[in-house]
């Protein structure tokens, strides 16, 4: 028995099987601790998988020993490894950093259920990242979504409940649209396996059912990924979820939907894409651009730090779709890199936001005035992560922005105009983040709250570790680059 060859299955099974044990626990701390440990081990598994992929190329795993397409297979390439690292890393980070914050948000008696749901969410997202079967993606999408609804509903504000209801409705529409699309493809091909679909779709790519299927799948996943203008569930869900949950979600949940969207559009529909790549680009790019500009503009006028960051997330998802919509190798590289780097930056920002909220008791900007002077360490880390989000040279964000600009420039004559739009939106990011930073350093704190009040040292270390990662991956971007190159090669494998 060689455990190494079972890594893809264990990656899903470990968090999944820990969850039922966690809900049997009585005490909050124990539940948190087991969830943290499971998350940490999952992260270790992801690292192992990444190493295996970097050394040996794409891994394939046949569940139950049945050969695909008869059985369900798992496929792990560079792109999946990158997403897996994000999921497990973000979960571990959020659990480690959010212990106190979560202890305040979730009362002790309900904590085992909460952490059980957390682990199931992790397992569900990992399940999507390694899936090689279209229906299996649906099942795990629903697992992760249901668990995420629970996590969001745990927010202390009652608005968390109305936000989560909207999220459930839209999330289910998205998943069901996806299912319809898969049904159409199944009807025309008789298979559910991604690779097999791609082969069998070669012949009748342009039949009406397939075009409709592509439409349903794209819209469904766009709903899940909160691509503008289908983003309406995201700001409120991010804002009213418990702060630690936001750290986790912001770093990975929409990314996973984007991941599967790109898988579908590039691997399964590659024949279609090849014939219509201009049409596809002409459809995606304007939407993505509007999304970037509108969401950035809205972010500038929000009165709540978490909402600012949430709208910024929508804008950043716009960058990723923009890059992916170029249907070029450089574009895909940029999309994959930005997925990774944005998760780093946004995870760091929300982590700092969590610390602020923990101290100030609210995420309203008016309550956070002067917080920078009260929490200098955390604030400094926030500034670093903000620079990464804006794309200042030397940070991780710069790398992906650079790749994005290169990809856009080589696209066609409209390239410079797009570059201008990207620069403008980056300036907008400077405004909405700078606005908070200014207010945090120079604002007058609310009465009676003037003293120095930092969060605990371990949390500060964690926040700074995230900030340093932003710089580290900016200076030494080999790991994400290698994974993105591998992922891009596979995504484009059928295209050229």
């Amino acid at each position: 028995m060689n455990l190494a060859e079972h890594l893809p299955a264990l990656q899903v099974a470990l968090p999944l099987l820990t969850a039922p044990l966690v809900i049997l626990l009585r005490a909050g701390f124990l539940a948190w601790f087991s969830a943290f440990l499971a998350s940490l081990f999952s992260f270790a598994l992801s690292v192992q998988l990444t190493i295996a992929v970097l050394q040996g190329g794409t891994l394939e795993y046949w569940i139950g020993g049945w050969e695909p397409p008869y059985g369900i297979s798992m496929v792990v390439d560079g792109f999946s490894a990158l997403v897996l690292l994000l999921i497990t890393g973000a979960s571990t980070l959020a659990l480690a950093g959010g212990r106190l914050s979560l202890r305040r948000d979730i009362d002790n008696r309900r904590a085992p259920m909460f952490y059980g749901a957390w682990l199931i969410a992790v397992a569900g997202l990992c399940g999507i990242a390694v899936a090689g079967d279209a229906f299996n993606v649906f099942v795990f999408m629903e697992i992760s979504s249901l668990a995420t609804y629970i996590l969001v509903a745990a927010g202390r504000d009652r608005r968390a409940l109305s936000a989560v209801f909207k999220y459930i409705m839209i999330g289910t529409i998205g998943a069901t649209f996806y299912l319809i699309g898969v049904g159409f493809i199944y009807m025309m091909t008789g298979t559910l396996n991604f690779a097999d679909m791609a082969v069998r779709l070669e012949d009748d790519m342009d039949t009406r059912p397939i075009v409709i299927a592509a439409g349903f799948i794209t819209i469904g996943l766009a709903l899940k990924a909160a691509i503008f203008p289908l983003h309406i569930w995201l700001p409120r869900a991010y804002t009213y979820a418990p702060d630690a949950v936001t750290v986790f979600m912001a770093a990975c949940s929409t990314k996973v939907a984007l991941y599967i969207l790109m898988r579908f559009n590039y691997e399964v529909f590659h024949g279609n894409l090849l014939g219509h790549s201009e049409l596809f680009t002409a459809f995606v790019i304007p939407l993505a651009l509007t999304g970037i500009l509108v969401a950035s503009a809205i972010a500038m006028f929000q009165g709540n730090l978490k909402k600012v960051l949430a709208f910024s997330s929508i804008a950043q998802i716009g960058y990723i779709t923009l890059a992916a919509g170029l249907t070029s190798e450089a574009g895909l590289m940029a999309a994959l890199l930005h997925m990774f780097n944005h998760a780093l930056a946004k995870g760091g920002l929300f982590l700092c936001a969590m610390a602020f909220v923990f101290t100030a008791g609210s995420s309203a900007l008016s309550q956070l005035q002067g917080i920078g002077r009260r929490m200098p360490w955390t604030m400094a880390a926030f500034v670093v992560a903000a620079m990464s989000l804006i794309g200042v040279p030397g940070t991780a964000g710069f790398i992906s922005k650079w790749y994005l600009i290169v990809a856009v420039m080589e696209w066609n004559t409209w390239g410079p105009a797009l570059v201008a739009a990207i620069v403008i939106s980056s300036l907008m990011a400077v405004v909405y983040l700078g606005r908070f930073i200014e207010l945090a350093y120079f604002g007058e704190p609310p009465a009676g709250n003037a003293g120095l009040l930092e969060v605990s040292i371990p949390l500060r270390c964690l926040i700074w570790a995230t900030a340093l990662l932003n710089i580290g991956f900016g200076l030494f971007p080999q790991l994400p680059l290698a994974l993105a190159t591998d992922g891009t090669a596979r995504l484009l494998g059928g295209l050229y």
Partner: protein
């Protein structure tokens, strides 16, 4: 041909019911109409040769969903607020979608078309090879329990997640018991003599039938989920006529939680056992000396796991709803 016409008639009724559900302003009426909707849907499934699905739809739609909707309705206002008529944007959105789909339908294989791609390839492979590879008569169970066992694992965990969510939101589980037992209102219909007597006669039969569905699933329609739902239906009937207090004395909240978690965990363990015995995750061939025996053992175990989880979770959900005042 006759079946097709019957199907078309049933589908027309189905569409009428759907419109009626949307139009009904009293939520109770809407729940009743969705009961009819579910029955019609199940009949359609039956006509289309999907016996397992029809059984599931009956147990879920007619039984569990109706009861849950009623339990939720008890806690919420009874009628919809007067609406402001049709909303323009949504009418446009849905109309466009429908037209698109009807447009797409003309490129689709007609009902029952033997040349449809869906029937070849994977599906015919299942029909052909199941007798030699797994050797159980019910191909649906074979696909569900073995070829696509990983999806079914996901299904068990979806159910568990829903249970976790409801217990998290409404109470239940180790730390937070169902709240209403302290007050004196948890007696159900125990004053109504006739239903009580009839239920007392029926419940053992339903339980027996549930066990039959559970362990006969390889030979006839049925399996863990349907059996669990039937078991739950029996326990719901018991709760309704005898009161929550007695019902929770029969299966304690702690046992419910153990069942919810234990069934799903058992399923996962079977998967890991595949790895431990030298196969892949969820591979049953290696569970016993003979691959076929291994397949049988694996399928029985995972079906049992699903049944236990479904029973535990759905009952927990039910109790969580009705315990809320």
């Amino acid at each position: 041909m006759t079946t097709m016409l019957i199907g078309i008639f049933l589908l027309s009724l189905l569409v009428v019911t759907a419109f009626a559900i949307v139009r009904a302003t009293e939520l109770f009426s809407a729940v009743m109409l969705s009961g009819i909707f579910s029955l019609l849907m199940a009949l359609n499934f039956f006509i289309l040769d999907a016996a397992d699905v029809a059984l599931t739809e009956a147990a879920v739609g007619g039984g569990v969903a109706t009861v849950l909707l009623l339990a939720a309705l008890k806690l919420t206002p009874p009628a919809e607020a007067p609406s402001r008529g049709l909303s323009g944007l949504s009418v446009v959105v849905v109309a466009v979608t429908t037209l698109l789909m009807i447009y797409a339908s003309f490129g689709q294989p007609s009902l029952g078309d033997p040349d449809a791609p869906a029937h070849g390839h994977v599906a015919s492979w299942y029909i052909e090879h199941t007798p030699e590879l797994i050797d159980i008569p019910n191909t649906v169970t074979a696909v569900l329990g073995s070829y696509r066992a990983y999806d079914t694992l996901g299904e068990a965990f979806v159910v568990l997640t829903a249970g976790i969510g409801v217990m998290f939101l409404l109470g239940g589980g180790r730390g937070k018991p169902f709240s209403r037992l302290q007050t004196g209102t948890a007696e159900g219909l125990s004053q109504h003599l006739i239903p009580k007597v009839v239920a007392r006669i029926l419940i053992p039969f339903i339980l027996l039938f549930a066990l039959f569905i559970q362990f006969h699933g390889e030979y006839s329609p049925g399996g863990g989920f349907q059996a669990g739902a039937l078991f739950v239906a029996a326990m719901i009937l018991f709760t309704l006529v005898r009161g929550e207090r007695r019902a929770l004395a029969v299966i304690t909240p702690r046992a419910l939680l153990l069942m919810s978690a234990g069934g799903a965990f058992l399923y996962g363990l079977v998967g890991l056992a595949g790895i431990a015995t030298g196969g892949q995750f969820l591979e049953y061939n290696t569970l016993a000396s003979d691959p076929i025996a291994g397949q049988h053992l694996g399928i029985i175990l995972i079906e049992f796991g699903v049944g236990v989880t479904v029973t535990g979770v759905l009952l927990s959900i039910f109790h969580a709803f009705i315990a809320r005042d």
